[in-house]
Symmetry: C2
């Protein structure tokens, strides 16, 4: 079966605005919350059997209300409680999937940040089809800016060759059984370091294929990002 | 003396629109060309003795007309012919500086991409003051997206630790005499690899300090970037 896992577990420590996590902020002239923009893209993809959404437990009721308010009544959407970080939220979703639909080597999952509302159907579908040939894939764009490494944060340590460098976005997709097996082999230190699933596969020597993202598929993390995203949807940038 | 070097030598092979290089495209409701937005920021900084602009020879007359049309009549602005790539354009500007104002170990230069119109006075001034303590500095922002290395372009090679990774922007600033000395030591292969001045300093083991950039200080390279930049200025995003 094919599952989506939209990760919205955060409580918004980096951008506290209107007293709510950033995935719930209104975006564009329609004032539709970011997470609703994102979920609409997933609902549009008919390949998914179920679309799981990991939300902090204090925001589950609120999210349910939002879905109703914005007529997102697709029966495939299932809310589950998020974990302390991205990977733990994904593991909670995996546990819910296996509990609801059983274990299978054929289960694949397309994970996505709720705060990337400009994901496209093309990216989602290419993630799904990439898994015909490998265990994991990652959506990326080539680096346009030079990438700089600075270990201490004040002086350049190295300037890696730009043509080999990419920016990782999401979706990140993989076979559920493989991820569980690899994650269980990680030490606690590795778990805290490897904040995304593709990092887990790469660290354990598994092949992760690249899927082409888009510069528009931005992650809304800061106030600047939020303004850019609003502008992309034709919102007012004057304040 | 303190010089600016605004690099606008390109002829726009990556984004050919309206038959002109991208630095000349109109931006925002005012329809002011990108390069004019950029130059206005530099003119605003009173520290500069001269503001050199490197432009492809076929576009020098056009640029002169633009400056007049947009009342950029500041006597500090000097147009010079660009070179085949970024570093060669900077070298052309350095040659013009030394020919016009003589050689000096005290000459510093703040280089900037013409297609980054959202540079701020704060960034420019921090570049200048960083050179009180070192030979070169680079304007960067912390990586928000995971950085991915892929040597072949289809499979992840490595996922470097994100907290050590930054995206390089411009301004990049340095002492002119040091850059000339280091650049003259490069092999032809190194010259073609090191497409930015800070890479030259790092490659030769010199300390390059980081200056804080901003996500807004984007480089307009593709049509998507151009749309985002227009939106940031309140232009029409509907097409």
């Amino acid at each position: 079966m094919i599952f989506a896992a939209v990760v919205a577990g955060g409580v918004g420590s980096r951008m506290n605005l209107f007293g709510m996590p950033k995935q719930f902020l209104p975006l564009g002239k329609s004032e539709k919350p970011i997470i609703i923009h994102t979920l609409e893209k997933f609902v549009f993809c008919k390949n998914f059997h179920y679309i799981y959404v990991g939300v902090h437990k204090e925001w589950i009721d609120y999210t349910e209300e939002l879905l109703k308010k914005h007529s997102l009544t697709d029966k495939r959407i299932i809310l589950v409680e998020g974990g302390k970080d991205r990977n733990l939220t994904i593991l909670n979703i995996i546990n819910a999937i296996e509990s609801n639909h059983g274990k299978s080597e054929e289960h694949i999952i397309v994970t996505h940040d709720a705060v990337r509302p400009f994901v496209t159907l093309r990216m989602i579908e290419e993630n799904i089809s990439a898994l015909d040939y490998c265990s994991a894939c990652d959506t990326v764009i080539p680096a346009v800016d030079t990438i700089i490494e600075s270990k201490e944060g004040n002086i350049i340590t190295s300037v890696p060759k730009r043509s080999s460098m990419y920016l990782g976005q999401t979706p990140q997709s993989f076979k559920i059984s493989q991820f569980k097996e690899l994650f269980s082999q990680l030490s606690d230190d590795e778990k805290s370091m490897l904040t995304d699933a593709c990092g887990v596969f790469t660290c354990k020597g598994k092949e992760v294929r690249l899927v082409r993202g888009d510069v528009f598929n931005m992650k809304i993390t800061t106030m600047s990002d939020y303004k850019i995203a609003g502008a992309l949807l034709g919102g007012d940038m004057s304040d």
